[in-house]
Amino acid sequence: MTRGASLEFDRVSKTYGAVTALQPTSMTVRPGEFFALLGPSGSGKSTLLGTIAGFVAPSGGCVLVDGADITAMPPHRRNIGMVFQNYALFPYLTVAQNIAFPLKMRRLPKSEIAARVDRALEMVRLGGFGPRMPAQLSGGQQQRVALARAAVYDPPLLLMDEPLGALDKNLREEMQEELRQFHRNVGATILYVTHDQQEAASMADRIAIMNHGKAEQVGAPHEVYERPGNSFVARFLGEANMFRLRRGWPDGPGRLRCETEESLNLLACGATSAALACVRPEDIVIGPAPTGRENCFAGRVTDLVQVAGSVRYRVAVAPGCTLIVRASAERRAVVLAKDDAVHVGWDAADMRFLSE
């Protein structure tokens, strides 16, 4: 098992003329961690990955692997593995020759190359596929060849740029499980780029949320989900009911009472108010009778959709204020319909303050 490398970005930035692809970014990835870069298209994820692999020369700052500055090192000396979105398999080489490529570049003896290639093929469950050409494989199989090729020389750091982006949903989920298993087996540090928050949350130890070339927030999946630092993070990681606040004042120990733009009165936990407050749809309870929660409103169901295992309601509680409520299957005992008068409620502890 390989010992994973640590990775540090120290104010790394990149501009293309007038375009800022990456604002000065500093963060640390721990040895052996599965770290996801999550963000919408154009947020600078690939650019950040490129500075590690060596295709993108940073405009400023430096990249450190295990404490050593690699910013100026040519790509082929970095000993980093990378899996590309479209796999980048060499089409004129067989599967075995593809996997042997990095070992040939390292001038390993023929017998050892053959042994290692066989082991790598076994690892990705493609034993016997060595003589095939890449074009004769399915997307998932090509993906596994790309993984075997990037891992066959035991790099302590593996970069993956949307490696499952080209696969359909079922295969994606299967490969996610396989990649997690792979990570447990090899022990290398993995930096994983994706724009799918579900994928990031289910696979990564920690996530960095990228937006406009900047890391907005870094933390464990449940941390960033439950305590988003700003409205972008809150919205990007699933649905959020967002309230714009006018003012707030203390109401008991550790409690704040706030007034929203729609003149709703809300009770939240915290010491100081911020510009926004949010509550997740699944933290709201819904029913025909008053809910007895600290925040309680009467409203009317304007829309409902059945989703796997739960129902998603839209409830109008005030002019210009419609809440999204997700009720799980067990709470569905009371059947609600469109235009029903309902009560919704949630506790102060489920409210989060956010900056813009």
Binding site: A53, F55, P74, H76, A88
Partner: protein, 269 residues
Amino acid sequence: MTADGLTRGLARGGSAMLLTLFTAFLLAPIIVVVLMSFTNQLYLTFPPTGFATRWYKAAWNETAWFDASWNSIQIGAATAVLSMILGTLSALAVTRGGTRWTRWVASLVIAPMMLPHIIIAIGLYPTMLDLKLSGTYIAVILGHTVVAMPLVFTTVSAALRGYDPALEFAARTLGADGWQAFRHVTLPMIGGGLAVGGIFAFAVSFDELMLALFLAGPRTETLPRLLWEHLQQTITPVIAAVATLVLLFTLVLMGAVLQLRRPEAEPAS
């Protein structure tokens, strides 16, 4: 008539016209030359009378044709190699290099394809005189490379655009230095286009007359130049015989290009 029907009608009319032009201007002269080469007369006649291979024997017995052919093959091969190197380098610079100068470089490289050869010849002639290269192989090869390189540039550029540059990035992360990435990835990927470009370059050089007239000398007599000189002096059917052989050779080159262009012709190891 629907728009679709109209296009189809136009396409059919276009095909018919193309076929007529092809027959009139390409096929007819070829047939005439081939038929004339088998005449038993002492001068070029059409339609030919009789059938004889005497003019092929005559050509065979005259060493000047062999010398000129050999010169043309050598010059063609050297032109092809030089064009392949320079054409590939400029194609790499334009497709993989920065963005600011690439449009300029591309136009500059392609320009000789559009320029009349006579202009290039007039431009190169005094330069070669100054460099004391006039009449040497080097002069002809350089001149031919100017007009042949754009072909390699075009075919190799197309090949480079035809695949994901991530392949080269991948090779680099896997431990290949710049040269190894070129040798193990770029070269196999552009191989077909490069070979086709090389054959085109050879063919251009092999039947180029204008530059050869200006830049070649008695010792570097090329085949088109010798044909030209014969045409001006003695119009014997030898010319037709040699022209027919040149045509045969060109057909072989065209066959090779078609073979390389086949999609299945992927290099497999």
